[in-house]
Symmetry: C2
Subunit: 610 residues, 2 copies
């Protein structure tokens, strides 16, 4: 498009941002107005996208890392002919697809944004997938705010993209100088941003973000830059084009007071249609299955860590499914992701110790149809919790593996122990939370989780545990396994992971006292096996839950939650990690925490009144 | 100390690291050996510290951000005469203070480390406190690993320290080239680190980390550099001094195979005592109370957001208590921290949108006796969850405030809604979790939380809620308020925050149907008022919990958890946010989520069987 047209388009985007925010009575028009020219030029002359085929593998990706500029994004969609004006004016209303911050409820939105500092890391994942997995020429464009440059996750992204030489990625930084509560740290010091980003091996271009010709040249330079990603650092004015708000503090996140006057000042309503460039016809290379699924089989009675079984199983899943990719936080030797690396190096991604970027890349990759497994210690997945939360808003399909769960890791101490991970992962909307106790179960669940939708979490253990299930055993999601049961059971021991073996040992001890105890392996914590728990409650009347996790949000809460729709509830005693652990052997740790066979036996005796 | 002595001291530290790890049968000797010379020179000639008075306000701070190098840290303590050799050899054993990763169980450890990328952000908090609050000349030294340079939190710290010109802060980066599973991203490219750090306005010095004289000069240069922090980027060899492990892959986190031979190769056991420089005698300026506590008072019947009451109350607490400091994630206008800013600008710290650095700085400041309140949206505190988890390991006393809780925020949509925060915060060891429903309660709890120990979380709401308590009302931690009660109650409605008002409205509707309902305001979610809940269960037999949070880990779990020690449990029905919210008005949101008065009324009717 010609520059005069693009300038007009920029004004149209501003007008539509003002209109939609006015209709909503809330929203972020001024944050949209600063970036309107940047986006007008991008959509008019550089973005390659078929709005009728959002699934087209050759489409570029456009991510609003500054998700609050959603009025601008929706105005772009209208200009592209994808949205009608009537729908634009449903912004932020109940039932509208045009939410306050973008979500994939709209087919052209790949990832939900709104928590700042996330869009660029997602873009890194998409650019990696485009370059190293799909081998397509599509580009990833990320509109970033200047305020979000303070987020460490942005620098994880700059570092990783520079290192991976992602020249299909362009960051557009809308330096409008004003954050939510006042001026940003660097205000209009474009060079402060540029020299930081250059230090991370990016190409940088500083530009006046309202100079159409300069913006157009910058995009051209970005697309022709080979071997490194490009950041376009644009000096802009928040509220550009309306004198009463332009570059004024205190105007963040508010609709304009007099929208009619503002629209007049911006030259009135326009209805330009943008002829967006189409994607190239090329097809992505998509690896296919290299063979049938051949999971590892472990012999009952052997002692095998569930993390080992996970690693071996994932390598096998990777053979059977060409869409599976593995993401490591530089602990693949510990999580056993290294087994996948050996078999499928081309689908293995090392993110070094940057858990936020690792999870974000997984979210980005699944938007292109890949099935990611992102792995680190369960303790360190907490580092990426905001990304996991947002992944659920993105409707992402994602496998997360947290190893080294609980006090059972032993000597390394509490910094390395996942003791909050079950609470965190259970609270994520639509999540599945799995916690195997033996190697065959771990292998089966590793394969099964790939078939689910939403966020799926597998918790694995560092130390060896006895293999108690034959390799032919199956473990449906939402199920459980009854390991001991008679009609005369007087108490049920509900355990998961390492504590299953403690519960079995406790049941044996109790049997010697003449107390018959039922034992349930609750490997599926969410969804939980309500039926089995209720049956156990009816038969035995008493439940003891035992978990290698803090008392809140884990096994105990999951079990009591099975009696939360007005159903009669049994008497419950909960054993969990209630003290701050220190160093010690795994056995000492279970003992100190009061979650070993001895503690379970004592609790059961007391509860039964024996 | 003379350089030959320091060289010997470096060898002693290596030997002691090998010995302690050998005695433990685990640990990270090779990661200790790379930094031994760096730490020998620091302790011998630059660190100012009175090991007999760890509370001395003039003491420097030494933080091992690479916490796995704990053998080196403990060897330093031994060299300083603070630890006896016998205790050194208790490393990683149950009952020892010498845990796998350092914790403040040792009086010379300010903060627990072991989750990488955290030590430097803590150091920023301590350096800020030293410079801007205490006005002392003490320095903060942080030993960083090269692997952890991938963590975004490190770059939040570099950015903030450079911006604040913290010339009392020195980062010592032990570039030993090898991470856990293989080479680091930048291996021995010292300049890759230096140019990134310089871009963030630090002074940088590249040095051979085994050249005693060069190290000594570098520390001298760091202490004499004014107006910017210094990073010493040291090329080192992992496992330095023992040929069988030196610069070898696969040697991370493992004791040496033949410790006796290694000790001989290192020149044998030494017992040098280091005459550590003492701290300067100066006293810190500590602000005192500016007046009595005069909390805001709100009139019953008025409609006031709990976030507003928090903001006004914190400003008042800041007047009464000179030790209170406020930390903002660039949303102080929304959280209402701006009220504190207006009254006490010298104790207000803006971290821009860097939640990890904000929480880390709060942890750092409390090590120097300050009482921090760190505030952002409840949704965005999840960004710092690993820091909150580690703060509990640090035995930190910390106030966290999460505003804009739940779907009740309305149009902004799920990215801005805290719906997992209660689960996350309850699962933190020793935490206190508070959720006020009215302005007087919010103000009281804001003041009360400062008196507690551990991690305290206050959840506030965006929209106005009716003031239902007189300003004279008191709200003990672990208590609750019974808002409706008769002896003929047939059901109890347990609510917190915004849902309290929905529960009251529901009780009114139920009363019209002839169903008498008890209403409990469960403002203290942890600890929870077990007694009130049990009494209500005994009287009414049926409980309905209602919460503006996902179903896992919040109010419902807290309530059922009150019946988890074998006590008979009532029938419970739980109302919570079970769908992915979209945009809508606050009232629409509560309705869509099924947590409004209408939903409560319907659930109560069904449960009672009316």
């Amino acid at each position: 498009m010609r520059h005069e047209q693009l300038s007009e388009l920029g004004q149209q985007l501003r007008v539509d941002s003002v209109r939609s925010s006015a209709a909503a009575g809330s929203g972020h028009p001024t944050s949209s107005m600063s970036a309107a020219d940047l986006m007008a030029v991008l959509m008019g002359n550089h973005l390659r996208y078929d709005f009728e085929k959002p699934e087209h593998p050759g489409n570029d990706h456009l991510i609003f890392s500054k998700g609050h500029a959603s009025p601008l994004l929706y105005s772009l969609y209208k200009a592209a002919g994808a949205l009608k004006d009537e729908e634009l004016l449903t912004f932020r209303k109940l039932g509208s697809r045009l939410e306050g911050h973008p979500t994939p409820e709209l087919p052209w939105v790949d990832v939900a944004t709104g928590s700042l500092g996330q869009g660029l890391p997602y873009g890194v994942g998409m650019a990696l997938a485009g370059k190293r997995l799909d081998h397509v020429s599509s580009r990833v464009w990320v509109l970033c705010g200047d305020s979000e440059m303070a987020e460490g996750s942005m620098w994880e992204a700059f570092e990783h993209a520079g290192y991976e030489r992602l020249d299909n990625l362009t960051a557009i930084i809308d330096v409008n100088r004003l954050g939510q509560r006042g001026p940003t740290r660097h205000q209009w010091d474009l060079d402060a941003y540029a020299r930081r980003i250059r230090a991370f091996d990016w190409h940088t271009i500083e530009v006046d973000g309202h100079d159409i010709a300069a913006i157009d040249r910058a995009y051209g330079e970005a697309t022709s830059t080979v071997g490194r990603p490009t950041a376009i650092i644009a000096r802009t004015q928040k509220g550009r084009g309306v004198a009463s708000v332009e570059n004024h503090e205190g105007m963040h996140g508010k609709p304009l007071k007099d929208p009619e006057e503002a629209i007049a000042e911006l030259g009135g309503v326009r209805n330009m249609a943008v002829p967006v460039l189409g994607p190239p016809a090329e097809q992505p290379t998509r690896p296919t299955s290299e063979g049938p699924l051949s999971l590892p089989r472990f012999n009952t009675g052997d002692t095998v860590p569930t993390r080992d079984a996970f690693g071996e199983a994932l390598a096998a899943v990777g053979t059977a499914r060409g869409d599976v990719v593995a993401l490591d936080g530089e602990v693949g030797d510990s999580t056993r992701l290294e087994y996948f690396h050996k078999e499928h190096p081309e689908r293995y991604f090392e993110f070094y110790i940057a858990e936020q970027q690792m999870v974000a890349a997984a979210v980005g990759m699944q938007t292109r149809g890949w099935t990611p497994y992102a792995c680190t210690f369960s303790a360190f997945l907490t580092r990426a919790y905001d990304f996991v939360r947002m992944a659920s808003v993105s409707r992402a399909n994602l496998n997360l593996i947290g190893s080294h769960a609980g006090v059972a890791i032993g000597q390394d101490g509490p910094s390395q122990m996942g003791l909050e991970d079950l609470a965190a992962m259970r609270a994520v909307h639509g999540s599945t939370v799995l916690y195997p106790c033996d190697a065959n179960q771990s292998a089966q669940l590793t394969a099964t989780m790939a078939e689910l939708s939403g966020i799926r979490y597998l918790r694995t253990s560092r130390g060896g545990t006895p293999v108690i299930y034959p390799s032919s055993e199956r473990f449906p999601i939402g199920g459980s396994k009854i390991l001991r049961a008679t009609e005369s059971d007087r108490v049920t021991l509900v355990a998961a992971g390492v504590t299953v073996h403690e519960a079995i040992a406790a049941a044996d001890r109790l049997a010697q006292d003449g107390i018959s105890a039922r034992v349930i392996d609750l490997y599926s914590l969410k969804p939980v096996d309500v039926e089995a728990l209720r049956t156990a409650a009816e038969v035995t009347g008493r439940l003891i839950t035992v978990e290698d996790h803090h008392p809140e949000g884990g096994v105990g809460d999951a079990v009591q939650g099975a009696f939360a729709d007005g159903h009669p509830a049994p008497r419950v005693v909960r054993l969990a990690v209630r003290t701050m652990p220190v160093s010690g052997t795994p056995a000492e740790q279970l003992n100190q925490a009061g979650i070993d066979a001895e503690a379970i036996t004592a609790a059961a005796r007391e509860l039964v009144g024996a």
